[in-house]
């Protein structure tokens, strides 16, 4: 089996750019990744595009003015897990020798959609009865707080931490620092979640990777993918424990086994902190701490920059924003740059192994439709 390496990464600013399009942003990220890898677009045999909210054929629309040689373009929609799922498929093709060099990219341009919470299908049973994505997480938060005697301040401290990280990230154009008090006093969205505990609803962005089984011409040391695992949600009709992030725990077990490591081997993580409660639940699902101990782990400072295992050094979704198609790829870009020592003011010292985790969507009876976990190392 061939060993694919990430030989180049590219990312746009994440912010509100109504004058741009998702195609233009994807092109910018791809050009950045090609330059970083030291190759031309003619060297790329196939493209894998993650996109959740754009029109049909987003990959081809992005690539047409880049004058590719007509190789395959695969469009992948797995909600917020689209970009990471695209990476998983690309790795499979490289490993079996179908291609030698490919580009994975993801993007979404939420400015085009008007704003507010992501629109959910009104054919869905829950959505017809008023469900919105923050409400699902709010109910998980209510139950978690009930079971573990967690106070709203603990939730707010996730947002404080990730905003502190985000202001060190030059691509995070939308982020502002906020105190615990400001976060708790912001507009209620779905109790106990307030506005500043939800990732911003309108942020545009794109990210891209070059992967190759050939020797790298890149500017930085190439990055190995120790594990790439995608799982789908189970259909749950019984009273399940909503404080357990089941799909993430299941995906993590598979990823750790494949990489031959455990959570204590990680130097950093990028996780899907769409809401403050999410990051707490994922600490536990990913094995960073035992059930019910996420608040203590956060309070210890272990997951802050300078701590034992920083989580979301990029600022995460809460600070950087969440263009869904881009998020999974952007997490990979962040971990690559951390491992390569290129993360500037937010550099995690001695970073050796990083993990990315991104979930995707929700449909009735399935709390998350998808989860993708990647483990990376030099």
């Amino acid at each position: 089996m061939n060993q694919p390496l990430i030989t180049g990464v590219g990312i746009t600013d994440f912010g509100r750019f109504p004058e741009l399009t998702e195609e233009a942003m994807a092109q910018s990220a791809i050009l950045g990744a090609l330059a970083d890898a030291g190759i031309a677009i003619a060297d790329v045999q196939a493209f894998y595009c993650g996109n959740a909210l754009g029109a049909s054929l987003p990959g081809q629309r992005s690539l047409r003015e880049m004058h590719t040689s007509g190789g395959a373009v695969y469009n992948v929609d797995n909600a917020c897990s689209s970009g990471a799922s695209a990476l998983n498929l690309a790795l499979q093709a490289l490993e079996v020798g179908q291609y030698e060099t490919v580009v994975v990219f993801g993007m979404d341009h939420l400015s085009s959609l008007g704003g507010g919470p992501l629109q959910l299908s009104q054919q869905d049973w829950n959505n017809r009865r008023g469900m919105i994505m923050p409400a699902l997480y709010a109910m998980r938060a209510k139950r978690y707080m009930h079971e573990h005697d967690v106070k709203p301040e603990t939730l707010a401290d996730i947002s404080v931490k990730n905003r502190k990280h985000g202001v060190l990230n030059p691509i995070a154009k939308f982020v502002k620092l906020a105190t615990r008090e400001e976060i708790l006093a912001s507009r209620p969205v779905a109790e106990p979640l307030t506005l500043l505990q939800c990732c911003p609803a309108v942020v545009d962005g794109a990210a891209a990777l070059v992967l190759s089984t050939k020797p790298s011409n890149g500017t930085a040391k190439p990055v190995r993918v120790l594990a790439s695992v995608v799982q789908s949600g189970l259909f749950e009709t019984a009273p399940v424990d909503m404080t357990e992030a089941e799909i993430t725990a299941r995906t993590a077990r598979l990823a750790y086994a494949k990489a031959g490591i455990g959570p204590r081997d990680l130097s950093l993580l990028e996780v899907h902190d769409a809401f403050t409660i999410s990051e707490l639940l994922y600490y536990e699902a990913l094995g960073l701490c035992d059930r019910g101990e996420a608040g203590q782990l956060l309070a210890s400072g272990a997951t802050s920059l300078g701590g034992r295992v920083p989580v979301n050094p990029s600022g995460g979704l809460l600070a950087k924003g969440h263009p869904p198609g881009a998020t999974g790829v952007a997490q990979i870009v962040e971990v690559c740059e951390q491992l390569q020592g290129r993360a500037g003011a937010r550099q995690v010292r001695g970073a050796r192994i990083g993990l990315t985790q991104v979930t995707g969507g929700g449909i009735w009876g399935v709390d998350h439709a998808a989860c993708s976990i990647h483990i990376l190392s030099l």
């Binding site: 109910m139 209510k142 139950r143 209620p188 019984a238 009273p239 909503m242």
Partner: protein
């Protein structure tokens, strides 16, 4: 729905149209389904394949509040409650949570009550 046979397998899709709630002498109940060896579920199964049969299961009239939230939709729209409620036999249902004063406590008993969807269609909600 049209029925065809292909390679010995009956290809038939049947659509259930029975309502997902009903009034009983004990009060309003939700109506879930159980198909063959699958676990019971609510909302009920709508489409059945081949010779599948759906057994109706009444849920309620009371259940236990697992969790809830109050959604604040913003300008000019009133907040509303949502709840996850657990019923015997081992089924969780989602729906609107109605309350006048402070919201009910997690673990408390809720009743199934009549409500209407935004388009006016008769539906259910939960209330202490």
């Amino acid at each position: 729905m049209a029925t065809a046979t292909r390679n010995g397998v009956i290809l038939k899709i049947s659509k259930r149209t029975e309502p997902h709630f009903r009034e009983t002498s004990a009060g309003m109940v939700l109506v879930g389904t159980r198909v063959a060896n699958q676990p019971p579920q609510f909302p009920p199964t709508v489409f059945l394949h081949g010779d599948e049969q759906a057994e109706e299961i009444e849920l309620g009239p009371t259940g236990r509040l697992y969790s809830y939230t109050v959604v604040h939709p913003g300008k000019d729209k009133a907040p509303y409650g949502l709840a996850m409620v657990d019923f015997e036999p081992d089924v969780r249902a989602f729906g609107r949570l109605l309350f006048d004063g402070p919201p009910p406590a997690i673990g408390g008993t809720l009743r199934v009550v009549p409500f209407a969807l935004p388009d006016g269609a008769p539906d259910y909600a939960f209330k202490e």
